[in-house]
Symmetry: C2
Subunit: 106 residues, 2 copies
């Protein structure tokens, strides 16, 4: 399983808007081959730290999505005021080495 983690830094007063933008997203990624899930995590101690984690069957599926029109559309939907408040601090690309089965699915 391939994992992409985008570590975002957002102005704290825009943090809730960023989360709301994720919650109200168009949901285009779901239809792409190899997509597993997308999670957004926010630090308990620092609301300016937001991680966007997407999981894919393999790296090629992720790359194909990143080059797609759907990705451009999704990005274009982010409100300009929120986009301006975000910095991508770090992008990590990883492979899963171990994963237990989910005991509970959310």
């Amino acid at each position: 399983m391939y994992v992409s983690v985008s570590r975002l830094r957002v102005e704290p007063e825009r943090s809730d808007e960023l989360v709301a933008a994720f919650q109200g997203r168009a949901g285009l990624v779901e239809s792409h081959d190899g997509f597993i899930d997308l999670q957004v995590w926010r630090s308990d101690r620092d609301p300016s730290e937001v991680l966007m984690v997407s999981r894919w069957e393999d790296r090629d599926s992720f790359t194909a999505y990143m080059r797609s029109a759907d990705h451009r559309v999704s990005h274009a939907r982010i409100p300009a005021a929120v986009k301006d408040a975000i910095t991508l601090e770090r992008l990590e690309q990883m492979h899963t080495q171990m994963h237990t089965y989910d005991v509970v699915a959310e």
Copy 2:
């Protein structure tokens, strides 16, 4: 959902042993209330970067596990040579703000 991310730095020549230790772990955490899953991710570019991600229904479930005998036992099972090669660079505690349903479960 509560997420704990331990960012580990391991000497590169010990990275495979660390992964093997996770794969061969005792599996004690699974029986704890509120445990959802445990994932181990390794950077594609840098084998010294390993993330251990555990997900829980809430923070209290995680805290209870961290104080349990099972956690001490699990930690004690890590080979000394591997333990000495690991540094905990960062511990992040987050809450899930958004999560799509899994399309595929691993």
